[in-house]
Symmetry: C2
Subunit: 443 residues, 2 copies
């Protein structure tokens, strides 16, 4: 059976790439791996792979190349720069899968560069992935793939090998569309990773037990995938180091620099990015991103006496109000940006609810915002949650943090954004649908 | 001559109050001082004052009472709480000047409390001051005074003694209007104190000499009163400790809590406040606020080689672009808030250009924003600076900081706010007047 399967060149054997490449080995593919870190190559040979010592050597004679390096600069280097770049050794009509998370503008420039260098034959697929190292090794990643029909056709079996059956998204729009889809998802991720630290840090300053807080939040309408994953790592002293702060910072940078380029406002992601930068300055960059809670708990005082059940309930509600306000604004920022990037909003929604950016708030308010972005009139229902309701709960949290003299970077930002949405006179007299928050971002 | 002058009770002999009270002594008034800190009372006696050991004793038999405590809670305590509060000892129709910076809502509640306690005769003046300890001692403060005509009439000579001839502002609107005027001014102050640290921190990360940066900025259209005062203290290692971070944090809290109460968005002040809170968590609260630069320079690397003159000029321009973008948004936030507080915008402008919140940007764009808030059409002139011009320069700075991997809290916030203002399609094709930034805040 293995003899039927094509040989795959795999460039970039980091936490994600190593899992993906060894998964292909287990599926019976012959894989030639390349990485600049020699010990990784040894490990890959031990796992049954072949290895190469240059990008050129890795790709030569292969009909399929997967590139899973960390950044656009690394992809550029592997393909075009140095003594033995991959480009001249690429086979005619090779299938080149760029799985790295890179700016849309980069992967589009890559397509142009290939044409300019006479290699318009390369069948490039723009296919960033999501799901973490565990799912990479299981071949159950979420993958967002864009490219020409021919390129998608040739690469599809390989995308299918690497992804979960229901989580391979073919994104309309050609090269750049996959990266845009990933970028829009990462708006949710970048906001929610910091929100986890902010919410748990707030809980700690409120004197709440963090294990109880974690359970209370995740069993409520303030639950989120990220909170579910980072929360336990906060409880286990930021171990294991599963995702360094520098990783989400890189993705945040892609979002904010692309937003700057096209003139789109990203106040939520921008706020998160500044806090990530501040953690970098303090030497926390390589630490697990759950450790961002430290930026919220400095100088915290303990409580004089234990909390009553009533106090606890009131304080859990404050943390929920904070998180839900943040998630509402994060949802709006991601979906309006998706519209701006001309992505299919239903597909964005479908992808995000099943991925790391998902949350109960995204799940419920997402379809409402999508309706609003399609021009439907969104009217608050008498028994539904209004924007003013979300605002009130968030603002109680912000006011409490002010009394505690602690920062709530995202909560304050969200509170101000909601006030921007509510500033028209009509909002003083009648409840607005919570989806109207999206009008702050929408043109 | 001194015999003609009434005796003054003076409560609160801190850095500001001590200067004000001793200035009154020098002008020939008999002054009875009170403070909870005994060594201060000794110093005040040495300066020729009388002292009292309780608020009640201090005010008894006096026709004029100045209250210059630090917070609303202290004012409340002095007047109504404890064993010997001032209230029962206040003379009939006493002139009570509350010079502390307090929320509008507090001084209004004070007026109500006096009436409720049967002391509607008290001639309360709401008269916060600005200008620092030096001008307090010289009797040349800026004072913003609101109250009933009778109260203002009775207290006027005392306000005149404490203020510069041209800097006593009688604010229309009764009790609360003086505090609102101060609050609106402090929007500028709170933003510009952090902006000084942000601009100088950015300069340091760019490898610029800070003395040269200071001179370049202050000789340009990016100059500001705060930068002029905090800049030199940055150059002298945050000495002297002239204004602790906790002081501007208190004022920022008045702004953001009042804004929250009335539903007004204050994204610039809110951002500054979160950074102030983070400095508090790190134990910097009592340090001079010029030391906020430390939050921007952590982990900074030195430059490999000296800068060329061309590099320097380019980098000074980046710092200017950053500061001017921040000041533009700070100006808009303060003036739209002033309108919301129903203040006389011309008076706000006149006060702010001559006070600590002033800057070249405020001076030039302020009248334009006031025109816009009065409903005038503001059209960008072909040779004038457009909002897009300010945006471009700011965004170059933000992009450079991203490369340096450092936070620009205010710059990023301002950049996103300008993008909110520019999001309509018209802004893609035609230059907008820079005053149109105010539409982000305006209802």
């Amino acid at each position: 059976m293995a003899a039927d399967k094509p040989r795959i060149a795999f460039i970039g054997l980091g936490a994600m790439g190593f899992g993906m490449a060894t998964h292909l080995l287990k599926q019976g593919y012959a894989v030639t791996g390349f990485d600049i870190w020699p010990p990784t190559l040894e490990r890959f040979r031990a796992a049954g792979g072949d290895t190469a010592t240059t990008p050129s050597e890795a790709v030569r004679g292969h009909d399929y190349v997967v590139c899973m390096v960390a950044t656009a600069a690394q992809a550029q280097s592997v393909l075009f720069e140095g003594e033995s770049p991959a480009l001249p050794a690429l086979s005619e009509s090779v299938s080149l899968l760029l799985c790295s998370t890179v700016p849309c503008a980069y992967v589009q420039s890559l397509e142009t560069q290939l044409v300019e260098k006479g290699r318009g034959d390369v069948l490039l697929v723009d296919c960033p992935v999501s799901g973490g190292a565990g799912r990479a090794a299981d071949g159950t990643l979420s993958i967002m793939a864009g490219g020409s029909d021919r390129a998608l056709e040739k690469g599809r079996f390989l995308l299918q090998e690497l992804s979960d059956t229901s989580k391979l998204y073919i994104v309309n729009g050609g090269i750049g569309a996959g990266s845009n889809m990933k970028m829009v998802h990462q708006v949710l991720a970048a906001v929610k990773i910091l929100a986890t630290g902010e919410g748990m840090g707030f809980a700690q300053q409120l004197g709440l037990d963090l294990t109880q807080t974690y359970e209370s939040i995740q069993n409520s309408d303030a639950s989120a995938w990220m909170f579910g994953h980072r929360g336990p790592r906060i409880l286990s002293e930021f171990k294991p180091i599963a995702s360094a702060i520098t990783i989400i910072l890189k993705d945040a940078g892609i979002i904010t620099s692309e937003a700057l380029r096209v003139g789109f406002p990203t106040p939520m992601t921008g706020t998160a990015e500044q806090v990530y930068f501040s953690s970098l300055g303090r030497g926390y960059g390589a630490d697990d991103d759950s450790s961002l809670i430290r930026l919220y708990t400095e100088g915290a005082k303990g409580l004089a006496s234990p909390l009553t059940e009533e106090d606890k309930a009131r304080k859990f509600a404050l943390v929920k109000g904070l998180l839900r306000g943040i998630y509402l604004c994060g949802t709006a920022e991601s979906l309006v940006f998706a519209k701006r990037c001309q992505l299919d909003l239903n597909q964005v929604y479908d992808l995000c609810i099943n991925a790391a950016g998902g949350s109960k708030m995204f799940e419920t308010v997402g379809p409402e915002i999508i309706s609003l972005l399609r021009g439907e009139q969104m009217v608050a229902e008498p028994n539904g949650e209004s924007l003013q309701d979300v605002a009130r709960q968030l603002q109680e949290a912000v006011a409490e943090a002010q009394r505690l003299r602690m920062p709530l970077y995202l909560g304050t930002e969200a509170s101000n954004l909601i006030r921007l949405a509510l500033k028209d006179a009509s909002s003083l007299t009648q409840p607005l649908h919570r989806a109207t928050i999206a009008k702050v971002w929408a043109a």
